[in-house]
């Protein structure tokens, strides 16, 4: 952090609307390798939308995405995956009818000739889970539908890590978990960053954020209120950024300066 490495992923003035509702407004956001960047914001602030713009699920209306300093265009999930950008979605996006290995390799199956190479996939899946010190998943061949919430989250994260990824984005990974499982997932996020990955942790739990993040970025009604090192802010300041978009010198300019951003889904 002190050496301030150049950002691996940098978003510049991203805009995104769904019909008349502008969900993202000139959002800037940077992600650095070896760090956990917490992305915080109220429900509906646009966190998941921002992630989906990065991963190619949604196309952006305007703005530039830089990867390693180069502007890139992301037109689909494959483009993001090719850059080593992996997302663990809030709704996990696992196929209940497939087993753990099948889910982890979905869309990128190993094959020998025409045929699936099940044995190799199973070995790699086992290695990855072992590398993450996961001991909770009993059988790699059980359908995902039979797993608990924490196990599913683990599988989803392992799936993201499997691919020599450089950027791993976790969208509210702990929202549905108990205390012990939350601890495991946060530890996992920290370990990934220590291994050199750029980790984005979306959360609105302050304890989670202050436990693992190096840097915190706060979205407020679709605008980036501030992005600062975690050491320079207090709990209370982050909460203010989330709820009011500003805190002291930090954050968006005070309202009443002429333009009333009333549109962002908060109309009326």
């Amino acid at each position: 952090m002190s050496t301030s490495p150049s950002p691996l992923l940098e978003l510049s003035r991203i805009n995104k609307s769904f019909g008349p509702v502008q969900v993202l407004r000139d959002v800037d956001f940077t992600v650095t390798a070896g760090e956990v960047t917490a992305l915080v914001g109220d429900n509906g602030a646009g966190k998941s939308t921002l992630v989906k713009c990065v991963s190619g699920i949604y196309s952006i209306d305007s703005g530039i995405v830089f990867y390693d300093g180069e502007p890139i265009s992301i037109n689909g999930p494959r483009d993001a995956a090719d850059r080593g950008i992996e997302v663990v979605y809030q709704d996990l996006a696992l196929c209940d009818n497939l087993d753990v290995v099948q889910n982890m390799f979905l869309g990128r199956e190993r094959r020998t000739g025409l045929v699936l190479d099940e044995a190799t996939m199973e070995e790699l899946a086992a290695e990855t889970l072992a590398g993450l010190s996961v001991r909770t998943v009993k059988s790699l061949r059980q359908p995902v539908s039979s797993l608990s919430g924490g196990q599913r989250q683990t599988v989803a994260i392992a799936k993201a890590v499997l691919w020599n990824s450089n950027v791993v984005i976790l969208d509210e990974p702990t929202a549905a978990l108990g205390v012990a499982q939350t601890g495991q997932v946060l530890e996992l996020a920290r370990r990934m960053a220590d291994n050199g990955l750029a980790v984005v942790l979306i959360s609105h739990n302050m304890n989670d954020v202050f436990a693992v993040a190096d840097r915190v970025a706060a979205l407020y009604l679709g605008r980036m209120a501030a992005q600062v090192p975690i050491t320079e802010v207090t709990h209370a300041q982050v909460v203010e950024l989330i709820t009011a978009g500003r805190s002291g010198d930090l954050g968006l300019p005070a309202a009443g300066s002429g333009d009333d951003y009333g549109l962002n889904g908060a109309r009326g």
């Binding site: 999930p77 995956a81 979905l106 990128r108």
Partner: protein, 420 residues
């Protein structure tokens, strides 16, 4: 930079827990209780039906009738095999029956009216199915019309197409000897044994090789006993079937000898193996399951979901064409009823009875064969008992409803036991 989180070899080399035979059985029973019943109802239903019909009508259990079952059930089974693909991705094709009728008409016209050789007529009929499937799939996946509506419209339209092709309902005779042979001839008895032996040997080789490879790499497998029991069961079943089919079933051997495995059996078996391979062993098959299980997850995994859905319709209609050819062969003719009336319902019923889910994401090629057998046995047995068509329809409708009910209930059970 790109960091694979390094594996801790110590953890990886923990050997998979050795599964005993008892453990394997317990695991299976637990899955069944958890709602993952697979083809259990179809197998049980088949056994019960066969026992009941054999008691009530002893002729049911004769070699002649056994052979009949194959030609009676073949067309429906083949159409059902195609429907499995569409059902897998969570869609439905109500037009599959009349698609088979259209393709059978194409076959008959090319053979009888234009005098083309059988291979051209068969190829054209199959191609017609492929094109129909591509159009249906396009309308569903790209235009976004629900498959129920698209194929209901096609159901009506194809019924008309058959009438138009057959000039307002004339009956076209199919007399090409090769086409007729498909549903009406039998293999020489020796060839039946050879094919059965090859099938068992190949199955054993695949299963044992897989067992050896996986244990060699330290991966969990079914216990060897279970593998051997499976191979043995297949050998016994095939052996018994070939033995019975090779018994002379002609009433008067002076007029004609009638014995051997019907030609349609290796055709169905070949397609069963092909589609099982595609579904279980190829990335394409995996993507079909993923699309049916959670199409959003499939999309995010970079799978071209639209293409997968279109391909399911293409395979379905193509298999319907194959079913139509088999039906034309069996009846020696094509008429406006080919592929009509209850063919579609029987086919959907066969797939669902066999264990394919109407909710998508669950189904196998063999479901069509098992379910097709159940449907064929019901039709055949009730025919032997002299019931009217009315009663047959009512009973088949009830069986379909029962199968769909079992499907829905096992799904709820699975959801309740966290096994969704």
């Amino acid at each position: 930079m790109s960091t694979h989180i390094e594996a801790t070899p110590a953890v990886k080399t923990v050997p998979p827990p050795a599964v005993s035979l008892g453990g394997h059985v317990r695991g299976y029973l637990a899955r069944v209780r958890g709602g993952d019943i697979g083809s259990l109802p179809a197998v049980l239903g088949l056994l019960v039906l066969c026992v009941v019909f054999s008691i009530v009508r002893p002729t049911f259990f004769s070699p002649g009738n056994f052979a009949n079952l194959f030609s009676q059930g073949a067309a429906v089974t083949l159409i059902a095999m195609g429907l499995v693909f569409v059902l897998l991705v969570g869609e439905i094709d109500l037009s599959a029956g009349f698609t088979s009728g259209v393709c059978a008409s194409v076959l008959a016209i090319l053979l009888a009216t234009y005098g083309f050789p059988w291979y051209i007529a068969v190829a054209a009929a199959v191609l017609a199915g492929t094109v129909i499937g591509a159009v249906l799939g396009f309308l569903v996946a790209k235009v976004g019309i629900p498959s129920f509506v698209v194929t209901l419209a096609a159901f009506l339209a194809f019924q008309g197409v058959v009438l138009l092709l057959l000039k307002e309902g004339t009956n076209i005779t199919v007399s090409d000897s090769v086409v007729v042979a498909i549903s009406n001839r039998n293999l020489p008895p020796v060839l039946g044994w050879v094919l059965a032996a090859v099938a068992v040997a190949a199955y054993a080789a695949v299963q044992l090789n897989r067992f050896r490879r996986r244990t060699g790499r330290g991966l969990a497998t079914d216990p060897l006993v279970v593998v051997l029991i499976r191979i043995g069961a297949l050998a016994v079943a095939l052996g018994a079937a070939v033995y019975v089919l090779n018994v002379e079933r002609s009433l008067n051997t002076l007029i004609a000898s009638l014995k051997g495995v019907p030609v349609i059996v290796p055709i169905i078996a070949g397609l069963l193996i092909l589609w099982t391979f595609v579904l279980d062993k190829t990335p394409y098959g995996r993507h079909l399951y993923a699309t049916g299980g959670n199409h959003e997850a499939a999309r995010r995994a970079g799978i071209n979901v639209d293409r997968i859905r279109i391909s399911a319709f293409v395979l379905c209609s193509t298999m319907a064409a194959v079913g139509g050819i088999v039906a034309a062969s069996r009846d020696h003719s094509v008429d406006p009823n080919t592929g009509g009336s209850n063919v579609l319902l029987y086919a959907v019923g066969a797939a669902v009875i066999g264990g394919t889910s109407l909710f998508g994401g669950k189904g196998r090629a063999r479901d069509a064969v098992l379910g097709g057998a159940v449907v064929a046995v019901i039709i055949n047995g009730m025919g032997l008992m002299g019931y009217s068509s009315g009663i047959k329809y009512v009973v088949t409708g009830c069986v379909l409803l029962l199968a769909a009910g079992v499907d829905a209930l096992s799904r709820r059970r699975a959801a309740a036991t966290g096994n969704r």
